[in-house]
Symmetry: C2
Subunit: 176 residues, 2 copies
Amino acid sequence: MKNLNKENNDSRRIAETRDRLRESSRRYGKLSSSTAETFLQFISTIDAVSTHLSHQARAKGLTRAGLNVLTVLRSSDGRGCQQHQISRLLLVSRANVTGLVNSLIKQGLVERVYDEKDRRVCIARITKKGEVLLDVFLPDYHAVIENIFSGLSLEDKTMFNRLMGKLRAAIKGAKE
Amino acid sequence: MKNLNKENNDSRRIAETRDRLRESSRRYGKLSSSTAETFLQFISTIDAVSTHLSHQARAKGLTRAGLNVLTVLRSSDGRGCQQHQISRLLLVSRANVTGLVNSLIKQGLVERVYDEKDRRVCIARITKKGEVLLDVFLPDYHAVIENIFSGLSLEDKTMFNRLMGKLRAAIKGAKE
DNA sequence: CGGATATAGTTTAGGCATTAATAGTTAATT
DNA sequence: AATTAACTATTAATGCCTAAACTATATCCG
């Protein structure tokens, strides 16, 4: 019953957003109705996926941002990473990495080591505790992701990838 | 030349993220390679679209959050909206709406009116200045959105909508 | 009527993200 | 060798976002 209400609310919410978009499209004439609908579908889905994954992480005391940093460090195999590398890999600012690493250190999941040769850089390294946490958390997290895409056949996924590539290509084109 | 480097960097970044995902998939065995790739494509595209749209808005002194509030208020046709309605429509917390409306008021784009009948509620209403701003901004913004999806045919868009619906359905199913 | 319950909005505390300014280190140039 | 430029990381200021606690008002119902 509760779920039914939620579903109805959600459908109505999307419908109202659709109405707003259509109204704007009509007013300004710059947005085709097909694009408006596809944009709406995209935004709604991003919201849903993003919220779902954040909740999964939070339930285990993690955040998606912290998780991203941990997986980067994990894959560096003990050597650790310079913070500006993390910044580049995750497409976030260096200042943000400083903060994320600070909070991971506070949780004991990461440690900082200073480079002897180049004294500008410091290396962030995942701790044993961090590795254990990933081992416990990631299998469930991956299962959640697998489930999100479980409705898509292999052909669907190929199509999905192709469509996503087209969007990124259009954006890349617009920037040049 | 600058663009070429950027493109290469971006491709390499995505490739490295792909490697990390594959490594995790192998380690834990819960993520199929097709899902890992599709998830990567999805996340990368969300990043690109989100950054692109935010920059467009910021270039005109707007934020996407503020823009969302303004378009909701615009569509209420002078009557304005209760803040909790904005919260429900945009899927953000009431506390967040308080902050967003505050900052829009500071910019003179929105005003608060208090309800005589139910003294708990206050109505947020778009000002003339806010309407003018939308009239100036939205045509360009819509053109940007149209351009993002310009590579998709009508069939592509239909497929896109269908795939997005499947993702949301899977999430809805997981919550029940 | 009057207490329990629900609703609307704000405040507080905290996390993630940005840009701009800064300090310290290294590299390049002249 | 000294100056200049580039790079790494941090800090400060700002904005979006949340959950939870709080205030005030409205409604329900025994």
